[in-house]
């Protein structure tokens, strides 16, 4: 490029343009007609044109007054193919490449290709794949186009062969490295991949090593050298860490200084748990500083900072700590903003907030808001950040970013079978219907032996204060119920209204009023006789009931689907009010508590009790009946028609000639019995077929029918492993279930309790929550119906 003498530009001409329009070049060109062009301006023009990334080569010439710019355009990318990449998915890669400017139709800039190769190598090295080879290739096409192919040969990840801590006299290497993520190959490595080296994992482990010693009093602990080396053929990794432990130090006196806002004595009580004399621990220091900052941030000091200033006394080996408190300004929350709620309406989130706008900042209230959003079950993740407001150092905006997920389940099915003919079923239950926060569920099922129409609606915030109101109505016609419960068919319908009144952040009362009618068709031969007798004793088939229910509940779980801490408890009493056909009551109590034992293990203990009895009068009735006799009407020697016997004497007395027996009806009506066994009944004992545990009755040809019972005792101990799957929507657990139902509490006997153990998977599929369990019965009696693999779709957890 000739360093020509400056001249005024009378005109500008651009040669060599193909794809790029002249107008485009002019917008980026810092030179116009009439400017004087000197060497400096020319260099600036060159740089500007190169910066556009469109051109491979730019040359400026001068033809007396006219500035001639000859450019060579860079080729466009016709096709971009990626092959051989397993660890890094093609979609993420293409997206990443697009951001760097390597996508079909973009201009091809060799610099980008080199940057991409280097970036991919770095990403693979970070995953421990050191012998990766990435070879990009460019194929020239006509019309100034290129095809790009990037072939990746990943090679095997380098395995950690040797992990050696040197200088650890006081603690054995196994104890120190127990919580580490990098290990030498062990039998679990095929799954956990913990023998694959990665720099982040190792730096995390080194940090754990530091806090291991600093939490046990080794103030002078120093990590002298960490040596990472790789074998010549890049297949094996060797990690050694040399350290000097130093001596154990104890705490000396603990003081508090700086502007503590609260009276100093209060702050001193907060850090009281650090007593002079016990072993120094950085963890305790962190706990103390967090406790103080939390206390201050609860009353508006969002930017409070506490730095513990240690004063080490070498010969007495003690560490005095002075907590220096810097409260910063008292902060107000200007606005609360929600992000990511493309489906859920703003009031549904805002009504869960405990922090208000225009009021002083309270960290506890903001955390409570996050927990309450987690407990709605509408969101996979909830993140909260407070961002300072520009221009006001004492105001912040609190921003909740949520990631929505399926908050209900939908299943529809059309089928045909000889047994049930054409059957159609639609089940929709949605906890966040159309984003309004209302819970709506409806079910329509039609088949030969069953018709069912359900609809239920709950508005959790009927009043802004949180009083919930809802109703549900259903009509069901069952013919020989398929829930392997006793053989009778029912036509039942109900209308119920219920209200929930919050008593505190976690406690609430629920009140329900409803009326239902239940017509039961029992068939002499196949329905168990206790049921037939019961109906005969009551004297009518349809049972009208006015029902009232009062319940108290407490729920302190920290998340709806995957709780790790907290518990739920419910006590409820249900009464068939006087005037119902049968006057009975049902009490039920269930509790489940989560014990977070460690990052990777949460224990869940659950208990479920139920008892019901009638408080009204007992029905007794005598049955007089003469069986029909078989007569040969067309006297062909075969008795083929039955002639009904004479009607029973009325009133039937025990002394009447055709008296058969007296039947009584007392206790809880059989259609209100508790059931146990299986995955979906209220007495959950997985590994046994649904509803089949407890008292049963076998008909003459031996077909056993479960009756359920008026008393239920069931429980389970479950070990949940939140870390096994890294996605929040799946959870694996191992469980031990036990339970049974009894006919009244006097028949209760502990060794009748059934038990089973197994593993269960809970998966929040896009269609709804699905729980699958595989269980082996531990205590079973002969005649129990065992069903090892069970699953339950859309039901409660």
């Amino acid at each position: 490029q000739t360093a020509f003498a400056p001249f005024t530009v009378s005109d500008i001409r651009i040669d060599g343009l193909q794809r790029i329009g002249a107008g485009t070049v002019f917008t980026y060109l810092p030179v116009e007609r009439g400017d004087t062009l000197d060497a400096g301006k020319a260099a600036e023009a060159m740089r500007a044109l190169y910066k556009t990334g469109f051109f491979q080569d730019v040359r400026l010439d001068r033809q007396d007054g006219i500035l001639v710019i000859t450019v060579v355009e860079r080729p466009a990318i016709n096709k971009l193919t990626l092959s051989g990449n397993k660890d890094l998915k093609t979609e993420d890669l293409t997206k990443g490449l697009k951001d760097i400017g390597l996508a079909e139709g973009e201009t091809y800039n060799p610099l980008n290709l080199d940057r991409v190769t280097q970036e991919l190598t770095r990403q693979y090295n970070n995953r421990g794949k050191y012998s990766v080879q990435i070879t990009p290739s460019v194929e020239r096409l006509d019309r100034n186009r290129v095809n790009l192919t990037i072939t990746v040969k990943e090679g095997k990840a380098a395995k950690i062969r040797h992990l050696n801590l040197i200088g650890n006299e006081k603690y054995a290497e196994e104890d120190i490295t127990k919580g580490w993520e990098s290990h030498t190959s062990n039998w679990l490595s095929w799954y956990k991949r913990d023998d694959q080296y990665s720099r982040e994992k190792l730096s995390g482990d080194i940090e754990k090593l530091n806090s291991w010693y600093l939490d046990r009093g080794f103030v002078d602990f120093s990590l002298d050298s960490t040596q990472v080396s790789i074998s010549g053929d890049r297949k094996d990794m060797f990690i050694t860490a040399g350290m000097t432990e130093g001596e154990v130090y104890n705490f000396a006196d603990v003081t508090v200084s700086g502007d503590t806002v609260l009276p100093k004595s209060e702050i001193e009580t907060i850090v009281g748990f650090i007593r002079p004399g016990n072993v120094f621990s950085r963890g305790l220091l962190e706990l103390a500083t967090n406790a103080i900052t939390a206390r201050l941030s609860n009353i508006g000091y969002a930017f409070a900072r506490v730095n513990p200033i240690p004063s080490i006394d070498r010969d007495k080996r003690t560490v005095g700590v002075d907590f220096q408190v810097q409260p910063g300004p008292r902060v107000n929350v200007r606005r609360i903003v929600f992000k990511g709620n493309t489906r859920t309406a703003d009031p549904v989130l805002r009504r869960e907030m405990r922090q208000f706008e225009g009021s002083w900042y309270s960290q506890a209230a903001i955390d409570r808001g996050k927990v309450r959003l987690d407990r709605l079950g509408y969101f996979e993740t909830v993140e909260v950040e407070s961002e300072p407001v520009a221009g006001a150092d004492d105001q912040v905006d609190v921003v909740y970013t949520v990631k929505e997920t399926t908050s209900g389940s939908i299943s529809a099915g059309v089928g045909y079978s000889q047994l049930s003919g054409l059957n159609l079923s639609l089940q929709l239950s949605e906890n966040n219907f159309l984003g309004t926060g209302n819970r709506v569920s409806t079910a329509v099922t039609r088949s030969d032996y069953q018709k069912r129409y359900d609809f239920s609606f709950v508005n959790p915030y009927f009043t802004d204060g949180g009083l919930s109101l809802g109703y549900n109505v259903w009509w069901r016609e069952f013919d020989y119920s398929s829930f392997n419960v006793a053989q009778y068919s029912t036509n039942s319908g109900a209308f119920q209204v219920f209200m929930g009144i919050p008593l505190s952040e976690s406690d609430s009362i629920s009140v329900m009023l409803g009326a239902d009618t239940n017509e039961i068709l029992a068939y002499e031969g196949s329905t168990p006789t206790p049921l037939v007798d019961y109906i005969k004793a009551v004297g009518q088939r349809t049972f009208h009931t006015w029902k009232a229910q009062v319940g108290w509940g407490r729920d302190t779980r920290n998340n709806y689907f995957t709780p790790v801490v907290g518990s739920t408890q419910n006590i409820s009493a249900e009464i068939a009010l006087p005037g119902s056909t049968v006057e009975y009551f049902k009490l039920s109590y269930d509790v489940s508590k989560y014990w977070p034992l460690s990052q990777a293990l949460v224990l869940k203990t659950a208990l479920n009790l139920g008892y019901g009895d009638s408080y009204g009068k007992t029905f007794t009735r005598n049955i007089c009946y003469t069986a029909p006799t078989l007569v040969d009407t067309n006297n062909d020697g075969v008795a083929d028609t039955s002639v009904p016997g004479p009607a029973g004497t009325d009133p039937c007395l025990t002394t009447s000639p055709d008296f058969k027996k007296t039947v009584t009806a007392q206790g809880l009506p059989f259609f209100e019995n508790f059931y146990a066994g299986g995955i979906s009944s209220n007495g959950r004992v997985r590994g046994f077929t649904d509803n089949t545990l407890g008292p049963s009755w076998s008909s003459s040809y031996g077909y056993k029918q479960p009756l359920g019972g008026s008393m239920l005792l069931a429980g389970s101990v479950e070990a949940i492993f939140p870390k096994l799957f890294d996605s929040p929507s799946a959870r694996v657990s191992a469980f031990l279930d036990f339970g049974n139902v009894y006919d009244g509490y006097d028949n209760f006997s502990a060794n009748e309790l059934r038990a089973s153990a197994g593993i269960a998977l809970l998966w929040r599929s896009p269609m709804g929550p699905l729980s699958i369990s595989y269980a082996l019965p531990l205590r079973q009696k002969d005649g129990d119906q065992v069903e090892r693999l069970q699953f339950n779709f859309g039901g409660q957890l």
Partner: protein
């Protein structure tokens, strides 16, 4: 199963065709309303013929096809690519306008219209972006033929943002958080002046002050409202009305009150 996928859609039926034929095929799809096919064929055209008169037109129509096919993110990235390559193209205004349309339609709830859901109470990130796009059209290309519609959409969007502020203020008023309600009203008046809910905001402010017992400010707010909107229901004392019980118990009424 990648191989199965290929069998149905034979990959290279669009390769190696002359540019005009490709263009006509894509245009045919557009007439028949098969937007995603059209978008795809345009894409192949641009890749095979990276320059020439057809390419500019194809890029624009690809963006439009993707918008109509509901693939809003793809449409926006096609538009961005066009703007980067042809910043001084004569109908660049159309591109910014199309970008505003895509952003406006980006994450409306599936059955929003069927249940007249109030889109202003959902995440406003996309509508805000749409507002800036329309603003670019209105300010940078004042005499383009899209400016009129862009301005109207800006007014509509501003009213949406204002209604969101008002509804949130009303919510806080009902909850008894009067300072929050007053702040929301003030924010509405300062950020969206002359919006459709200007007077409602003043009424909300007055109501909040009254409940707060700040009679002086309440009286001034009432005076301002009397000048601007004498028939406002708040003056007669029956505003704001709480949502009816029927509305709160019936899931299908939507909630644009």
């Amino acid at each position: 199963c990648a191989s199965i996928k290929n069998k149905f859609k034979d990959k290279d039926k669009n390769e190696g065709l002359p540019v005009s034929e490709l263009y006509d095929r894509a245009h045919g799809y557009m007439e028949k309303g098969r937007w995603s096919n059209a978008g795809e064929v345009f894409g192949r055209l641009i890749a095979q013929y990276p320059y020439g008169p057809y390419t500019e037109q194809a890029l624009m129509e690809q963006a439009y096809a993707e918008y109509k096919a509901g693939k809003h993110e793809d449409a926006i990235s096609s538009i961005d690519r066009f703007i980067r390559t042809y910043p001084t193209h004569r109908n660049i205004a159309y591109l910014y306008y199309l970008r505003g349309l895509s952003n406006m339609a980006r994450n409306t709830v599936f059955m929003a219209r069927a249940f007249n859901l109030d889109t202003s109470t959902r995440d406003l990130a996309a509508p805000l972006q749409a507002y800036t796009d329309f603003n670019t059209v209105a300010t940078r290309y004042p005499n383009s033929r899209y400016t009129g519609d862009a301005r109207q959409r800006m007014v509509f969007l501003r009213n949406e943002f204002a209604r969101f502020e008002l509804n949130t203020g009303l919510y806080y008023l009902r909850r008894g958080a009067w300072v929050s309600a007053a702040d929301r009203a003030t924010y509405l008046l300062e950020t969206y002046p002359q919006s459709q809910y200007q007077n409602d905001a003043v009424a909300l402010l007055g109501e909040a002050y009254t409940r707060m017992g700040n009679t002086a400010l309440a009286a001034d707010a009432r005076r301002v409202l009397e000048q601007n909107d004498p028939q406002h229901p708040w003056l007669a004392g029956h505003w704001p009305k709480d949502p009816s019980v029927f509305k709160r118990l019936n899931p299908f009424t939507g909630e644009s009150r």
